[in-house]
């Protein structure tokens, strides 16, 4: 809901219906065009836009006030009257220069007016027909060069999800360890909770932490986890975020070196579970859905949720991998659609069809150079 800063009520309170604003907008657009047309060439586009924007705002308000005068309460009416008076007096509207790194269309070069042209052979065009169109701002923001890096979307997790099973397992272990550490120190407060990824060293430090797992899944951290806590608390450095990458081969070796008991670590504590899920998103890019998160109670469950075989592109591939249909002797799964030609081949009729068509010099598949049957339209009664 838009708020008009000078009026202590909501913008929609001013107009009873949204349709009332439509003519006002077009009126503002007209005025904006006139403004641009009459401006001196030296004025920058940016500034003109800022001015136009503020003027439009004034205008829209005033036109609305005309259309819905009876409904506007006394406060609003008073403010509008004051503003109308300011407009009439032609006072300068205070404007702000916007600090931005977007690329604006600066340095507009305007052609000299027809009265200023000295060339005697020059004749101004009377209609727009046949004239070359130059410039224009219609597709300005479609060009990626006009956008700066600061406007790019930066998600909480990496743009591309980690899919390798071994790497996912290693990262899950890291997330679980860091989640446990975070839970331990959560009361003390973390300046930068579970945000920092860190480099290779930070990852190795986190993976070196040893965990004792009890029968019921309670995890006890051994020493050497304090540096990890320090890493988690470090403020985010400026510039490109540091990422730690581990190759699948290294990840496999690392995962084999661990006691598989770590996967029984309990995640029943909601604080730990949420911290681990958040860390997982930061490290791997996987968002664990709430519904799934509810049912995940151990580290193994989390790993199973993350490691998924890639979705097959074809139904036949899915059936070949998952279904028991493949092992049934009386069922055959074909890798592609069974075409009518295939069916004819299976019953042995196709070779005869080919033979007969070739004998008559007709195309075997398709229609060749022959069009549709002319009789068809006669039968359908189409002249």
């Amino acid at each position: 809901m838009r708020r008009i800063p000078r009026i202590p009520s909501v913008a929609s309170a001013l107009s009873s219906s949204s349709t009332a604003s439509a003519p006002a907008r077009s009126a503002a657009a007209c005025l904006l065009k006139r403004d641009i047309a009459t401006r001196s060439p030296r004025t920058t586009q940016l500034r003109s836009q800022t001015c136009a924007h503020s003027q439009r705002r004034y205008l829209s308000v005033s036109s609305r006030s005309l259309s819905t005068a009876q409904q506007v309460d006394t406060d609003v009416a008073r403010v509008l009257e004051e503003e109308a008076a300011v407009l009439q007096a032609g006072a300068q509207i205070p404007s702000r220069e916007i600090q931005t790194d977007l690329v604006y269309p600066r340095g507009v070069v305007e052609a000299p007016r027809s009265t200023d042209v000295t060339d005697p052979e020059y004749t101004p065009a009377e209609t727009a027909e046949g004239l070359e169109e130059v410039g224009g701002l219609a597709n300005w923001w479609e060009d990626p060069e006009h956008w700066s890096a600061s406007k790019e979307y930066v998600g909480f997790g990496p743009q591309e999800k980690v899919t390798d099973p071994a790497v996912l397992e290693v990262l899950t272990r890291r997330a679980v360890v860091e989640g446990l550490i975070y839970t331990r120190y959560a009361e003390k407060g973390c300046k930068n909770p579970l945000r920092e990824i860190g480099g290779r060293e930070e990852m190795e430090r986190a993976l070196k932490v040893e965990v004792d797992v009890a029968e019921d899944g309670t995890a006890t951290l051994k020493k050497s986890f304090k540096p990890v806590w320090a890493d988690l608390n470090r403020p985010t450095p400026e510039g490109k975020p540091v990422t730690a990458e581990i190759s699948p081969a290294d990840a496999q070796q690392l995962a084999k070196s661990w006691d598989p008991k770590w996967k029984t670590i309990s995640l029943r504590d909601p604080v730990t579970k949420f911290a681990v899920a958040k860390r997982i998103q930061r490290l791997t890019g996987h968002v664990v859905p709430d519904g799934k998160l509810f049912g995940i109670n151990t580290a193994a469950g989390l790993v199973a949720q993350l490691i998924k075989p890639p979705k097959p592109k074809k139904l036949a591939e899915e059936i070949a991998t998952k279904s028991e249909l493949v092992s049934l002797p009386n069922v055959r799964v074909f890798p592609r659609r069974v075409t009518p030609v295939d069916k004819e081949k299976m019953v042995g009729r196709w070779k005869i069809i080919v033979q007969e068509l070739e004998k008559r010099e007709l195309p075997v598949v398709g229609t060749g150079n022959y069009g549709k049957a002319v009789e068809k339209k006669w039968i359908l009664g189409k002249a």
Binding site: P335, R336, D342, K345, V347, G348, V354
Partner: protein, 440 residues
């Protein structure tokens, strides 16, 4: 005396590869000439029943030309061009056929019967002339078994049936038409045209080119040509001796004449003249289809015997063929029932039959009904109703004769082959009739 073990004989159904040579001979052949013309590469590779040899030979060969775009639609079955040139599917392809596996399961066949053998039972001699790859041998075994079991069961179940009725009943249980129905009820579907690329689960036969298959006993009569021409009479005794199990005359060696004529036609075609239009859906093609279906059933029975033995095949025949209902009383046709009945009474030392009117209604109406009983002395042999006195008397005589002929010792009679099972109870002699009432 050593017991025979038929299950050890089945090796010849899955013959060893050509390379191994050996005991059962070489099951290989060149592709049929008329089909080679279809495939672009006429490779002279060797086919065999064992899948090992085929697996060794399976390599990336270019696919046979079939007019389709192989890049856009890669073939669903990777069949070698050599295999497509054969007149029937390669035996190793039987393992991939869903239809065949379904048929195997539907018939509750023993796992001892391999799918390759089942595939072979579906290749008729008219599709593939090579007896190593068609079902003629299995069908011969099957028909002897079926005919034996049906005959012994009919003889024991209805000991007084005249021979002509036994022939008809045999035809009704084990002839081509009923076995065609059995095949249809098993879900055996025919292929449109036989060939190496066809699904092995489909029955392969050619309706236009009868193959050479010896699937029945019998002799060719020297007077065979005149039998139809002059409507010569064939006595029952000569039918038993010369003709096949159904009392039908044996035609010329099946296929030989027809093949010759076809080959002649082929030769003529090659030089000049258009290809004759194939006739579909006439009496000949229908009977060819019936025979092919029946041979498939017989071959299946033969395969059951070859792989599972005597007891299994007996149960198989009992459950699939003898379990069918045939109303034997509908097979009779009497020319003069009253005299036949009189002959019967004279032979059996009964008093001569006398017809008596038991009741009547509407004698003067449009639809009178007379009920006539036939008496032999004080015993009433039969009675029947008819629209006039003669018809009622004839019907009563027919009923009396049918009552005599259709005598049965019971539904679950023991047959001689029951004695072959181990630990069978001692044989009680079955009722044997002295013979036919009148000679035909």
């Amino acid at each position: 005396m050593k017991r025979l073990r038929p299950s050890r004989w089945t090796g010849q159904l899955l013959l060893a590869g050509a390379g191994s040579g050996g005991r059962y001979g070489c099951a290989s052949r060149r592709p049929a000439q008329h089909l080679v013309a279809l495939s672009s590469s006429s490779s002279s590779s060797i086919r065999s029943q064992s899948s090992a040899a085929a697996a060794a030979a399976a390599q990336e060969e270019e696919l046979a030309y079939d007019g389709t775009d192989h890049e856009r639609f890669p073939p669903l079955d990777r069949i070698r061009p050599a295999d497509t040139s054969y007149p029937s599917p390669a035996p190793e392809r039987a393992l991939q056929s869903a239809k065949l596996a379904a048929l195997h399961a539907r018939l509750s066949l023993s796992p001892k019967i391999p799918l390759q053998t089942l595939a072979r039972t579906l290749v008729d001699a008219s599709a593939d002339g090579n007896p190593q790859f068609n079902n003629s041998n299995l069908a011969f075994v099957g028909q002897t078994l079926i005919n034996y079991h049906v005959t012994e069961w009919l003889m024991v179940r209805y000991p007084r049936l005249p021979m002509s009725i036994i022939f008809s009943a045999m035809q009704g249980y084990a002839g081509d038409k009923p076995l065609h129905q059995v095949a249809r009820s098993w879900g055996i579907e025919p292929a449109a045209a036989p060939g190496g690329e066809v699904d092995p689960g489909l029955l392969q036969f050619s309706a236009h080119k009868p193959g050479v298959s010896l699937v029945k006993f019998g002799y060719k009569r020297t007077e065979a040509e005149y039998l139809e021409k002059f409507k010569w009479r064939r006595g029952i005794s000569s039918r038993i001796v010369f003709d096949d199990d159904f009392g039908q005359t044996v035609k010329a060696t099946p296929g030989s004449e027809a093949e010759q004529s076809l080959e002649q036609q082929d030769g003529e075609e090659g030089e000049e003249g258009p290809v004759p239009v194939m006739q579909y859906g006439n009496a000949d093609t229908r009977s060819a289809a019936e025979t092919a279906h029946a041979h498939a059933v017989r071959a299946t029975v033969g395969a059951v015997y070859a792989h599972c033995g005597r007891e299994a095949v007996k149960n198989f025949i009992k459950s699939h063929i003898l379990s069918r209902t045939l109303d034997v009383s509908k097979l009779f046709m009497f020319k003069s029932p009253t005299s036949e009945l009189a002959t019967l009474c004279a032979r059996e030392d009964f008093e001569p039959p006398v017809a008596r009117l038991l009741s009547e209604t509407g004698r003067a109406s449009r639809t009178p009904v007379y009920v006539v009983g036939i008496y032999s002395g004080k015993d009433k042999l039969a009675e029947a109703a008819g629209p006039n006195l003669d018809h009622a008397r004839w019907a009563a005589a027919m009923n009396a004769l049918k009552a005599w002929y259709l005598y049965s010792p019971g539904e679950n009679v023991r047959v001689p082959s029951d004695m072959l099972s181990e630990g069978a109870k001692p044989w009680e002699p079955a009722h044997i009739d002295i013979g036919e009432v009148i000679s035909r």
